[in-house]
């Protein structure tokens, strides 16, 4: 039973780390600000959630588990709010999204 929990925790941690690296590559290579928000959103919700769940499976006592749940809830509530505010501020200030009709005129 102990080794099952260790393996599941390792799977969660590695999957979360892989998603975080994927989001890092995405924020570096995506062409537009609004597409980079998508890459950041993947790491902020799913990557952080998977890593924190993987840590929750190997906690020593209950208080650490409570703190990890608090961090997970704050991550899940705070980061979409910050991303939404960022996208709204960018759109209000006149930063236009990169549309396909701008690249291929008449296409």
């Amino acid at each position: 039973m102990d080794i099952v929990i260790a393996v599941v925790s390792a799977i969660f941690l590695l999957l979360g780390g892989f998603l975080c690296v994927t989001g890092g590559v995405g924020i570096l290579r995506f062409p537009d600000f609004y597409t980079r928000i998508h890459a950041t959103g993947v790491t902020d919700t799913l990557g952080a959630g998977l890593i924190l769940i993987g840590l929750m499976l190997q906690v020593p006592d209950v208080l650490v588990l409570v703190k990890l749940v608090i961090i997970l809830l704050m991550t899940l509530f705070i980061n979409p709010v910050a991303t939404h505010a960022l996208a709204q501020a960018a759109l209000k200030s006149g930063l236009s999204p990169l549309l396909q009709s701008k690249n291929h005129k008449g296409g």
Binding site: C20, K67, A82, A90, S93, S96
Partner: protein, 97 residues
């Protein structure tokens, strides 16, 4: 596994820092700083487990709140004239793609 995940988080933080340095618009830099802060929360949590001291999670909670307040605070002032975005700045982005 903890150390491998920590290295992955460090790689993601490095890539986000590159985007924060070269980011063409003001909002790209804010986005990169936000992502860097989230990764810092995860990094502090993982380091606490690697070193066997889960008390680091308190620092992670404080850092998550600080990150949120800093992003919202900067965005509150981003509507003023100094940060006003001109659309011809975006033309460099469109040429790159």
């Amino acid at each position: 596994m903890l150390i491998a995940t920590t290295v992955a988080i460090l790689v993601a933080m490095f890539l986000a820092m590159i985007r924060g340095i070269v980011g063409p618009t003001f909002y790209d830099r804010i986005l990169a700083v936000n992502m860097f802060g989230t990764k810092t929360v995860l990094f502090i949590s993982l380091i606490g487990f690697v070193m066997g001291r889960p008390e680091f999670l308190d620092i992670a909670i404080v850092y998550a709140l600080l990150n949120f307040i800093s992003v919202i605070g900067v965005l509150h002032f981003s509507g003023s004239v100094e940060f006003r975005h001109d659309d011809h700045d975006n033309s460099t982005v469109e040429k790159d793609s």
